[in-house]
């Protein structure tokens, strides 16, 4: 009798194991509430749009059958400790195929090691802080299951500094928030200024905290030091407070900074004060190619919005899923380690909404984090705020992307 129960129990367990492979379990994590929410929500919704399209077509071809995606959503609230808990939970799931997400650099730093320990494949998007990937180089990891699908701050800060130099400016002020993201952004900017020949003199370095609304003190310092531009690293609501403060003090100097200056909570809260702000972008919500048009229209229709809260995050979330699906197909398996190997060596080009991705990642080189970075300078353009939307800051970029997208 006991034996019979044991056998039936075991057969249930085996059946459960088989049933799990009927779907590709993928976790989407990010802040779906709070100041970072426009990025988290757009990333999630962009990713879900891609998943809905793939599932609608029957799923991903794995071997001789098609398997659909199954989504696990987790809101990390942009809090490091929440992110660590979620990562531990995900790392303990035996049948998880992979993770897509993370907006905040601090959250990535707190949680990713749990996933890495278990070898869970993760595509990090849209967190851009340099430390997200360089931490693995510092730690000397030989086999990395973390991939980044976002323009790293290294590229972004290079573009910001370049922009200031191209405008023949000589004196700049750096203002940043006190989070991991802001502090590493400040360091990137200082390094880039050195790397590009120290043509810019940094006359003031100021910081602010999350939740600060009055930036007068920081701005008066920058202004009195004679700054010709404000280089800035922070997130939406505080960036808006800076732009509004500049308008109040009558500062006409350009505000140039990280891609977060395209977040809807910056655009809405800054209003007219935000016009002319410049930031690197991987995707601009303009239907300049057929694929971009299809994506933008599908997003607006699916979520009933006239404007994507964070177009960059949405497009990156969408393309990240396409890359992940391509890796599942190539691996012919839902096993997260096999998917990792496939991602490191994608054979077929993936037609994404940002670009056509030809072998975006390479085998991990412990000395070079760029092997797991998908974005290079060529895929990033300068965006500019105009009338509450982000447009191309440079028409040459627009023309180039239109040509490439044909």
């Amino acid at each position: 009798m006991k034996k019979a129960i044991l056998i039936s129990l075991m057969s249930i367990l085996i059946a459960a194991g088989v049933a799990a492979a009927d779907s590709i379990k993928i976790a989407i994590t990010g802040p779906f509430s709070g100041g970072s929410a426009p990025m988290g929500v757009s990333m999630r919704d962009g990713a879900k749009l891609a998943i809905a399209e793939i599932n609608g077509a029957g799923g991903v071809q794995v071997g001789d059958r098609k398997i659909k995606f199954e989504i696990i959503e987790r809101d990390d609230e942009a809090k490091n400790e929440r992110g660590a808990l979620i990562a531990q939970e995900l790392a303990s799931m035996s049948d998880l195929s992979g993770v897509i997400g993370t907006v905040n650099t601090g959250v990535a730093l707190a949680g990713d090691r749990y996933l890495q320990e278990k070898g869970v494949t993760k595509i990090i998007t849209p967190a851009a802080g340099s430390a997200t990937m360089t931490q693995w180089v510092t730690a000397g990891v030989t086999d990395l299951s973390m991939f980044r699908f976002a323009a790293p701050d290294g590229i972004q800060s290079a573009m910001v500094v370049e922009e200031a130099i191209n405008r023949n400016l000589t004196k700049v002020a750096i203002i940043h928030d006190s989070t991991n993201y802001g502090v590493s952004g400040r360091d990137d900017l200082l390094n880039q200024i050195k790397a590009q020949g120290s043509k810019l003199q940094v006359v003031a370095v100021e910081k602010f905290n999350i939740g600060d609304k009055d930036m007068t003190a920081q701005l008066v310092r920058a202004k009195s030091a004679g700054a010709q531009a404000i280089l800035i690293w922070g997130i939406g609501p505080e960036l808006a407070a800076v732009a509004n403060g500049m308008a109040k003090l009558g500062m006409k100097e350009p505000l140039i900074g990280g891609w977060t200056l395209s977040m809807s909570n910056f655009l809405d809260n800054a209003g007219a004060s935000g016009d002319g702000t410049l930031m690197p972008q991987t995707f601009i919500e303009e239907p300049i190619t057929p694929r971009a048009r299809k994506f933008i229209e599908a997003y607006h229709a699916a979520y009933n919005v006239p404007r994507i809260p964070s177009p960059v995050s949405a497009a990156q979330g969408y393309d990240a899923v396409l890359l992940f699906a391509a890796a599942v197909k190539q691996a012919g398996s839902t096993d997260t380690r096999k998917i990792k190997e496939a991602l490191e060596d994608l054979k077929d080009p993936v037609h994404g909404v940002i670009a056509t991705w030809q072998k975006p990642f390479n085998k991990w080189d412990p000395a070079n984090e760029l092997t797991h970075e998908a974005f290079h300078r060529a895929q990033v353009v300068m965006g500019m705020v105009k009338g509450g939307r982000v447009v191309f800051g440079n028409d040459a970029d627009r023309q180039r992307l239109m040509k490439e997208g044909q």
Partner: protein, 292 residues
Amino acid sequence: MTPVMFAQLAVSGALMGFVYALVAYGFQLTYATSRTINFGQGELVMVSAFCSLSLTNAGLPYWLMVPGGLLIGALLGLFVERAGVRLALEQKSEGWILLSIIIGLFFFSASENIWGRDDRPFPTPIPSAAVQVLGVSVTPYEISVAIGVLAIMGLIELFRRGTLLGKAFEAVSVDRDAAELMGISATRTVMLSYGLSGLSAAVAGILVSPITTVGPTMGSALVLKAFAVAVVAGLDSGFGVVVVGLLLGALESLTSFFIGSGWREAPGLVLLILALAVRPTGIFGKSVIRKV
């Protein structure tokens, strides 16, 4: 550091100080009649601001939304009095401290669920383009905050000093039992003070929101500073809060310039500790003589 820059920093900070003063004034109103304060006052500011935003989104023009928002604020104040303070006062217990905190937490969770956790812009018809006054940039909006705060405080003070109902305030404040013997309902007076306190919270919410945006955490940031202002000024000094509020606002702005932006919150706490240690009745407070 030019004098103009100094003035700019002081003025920018002081304008925020008006809002601290108004929230602190809300503490004083209820303290005067019942010797209680609403520790959830910040949440009243936040909920009134969110309700006003919803009224605006529903299509109400600004000048109709304002009375609507004020009414909601007053009702919320009455709710706090009925659901928390009165129960504790009837039993002559100090339970109102915890009850008002709990009601505040309830408002906080409720608004997170109703309006979400995001900071949202709050539209206003008053322009935000800066004007120069003696070299100092101020926005018409900031000036309207100053005027709004002084106006509502002035009106409430006029009411308290000039009307019969207002005199009841004073009477209950001086001696509750004697006032009852004179035919003044202490309960009604306390209710009225909570209503007015809620109303002033709503004014603070509507005035500060276009500057700080509306979010569930907006109240907690304000209330700590307002509390410091109320204690430093003294819990029964009408216009003392304005002086201390302006001073604290200016001090915060200057601190973050001279010492560093990370030290912004320090002056409020230092003032609070100093006041409690040196002059617990507040700078403008009257020392109380208790006859046993």
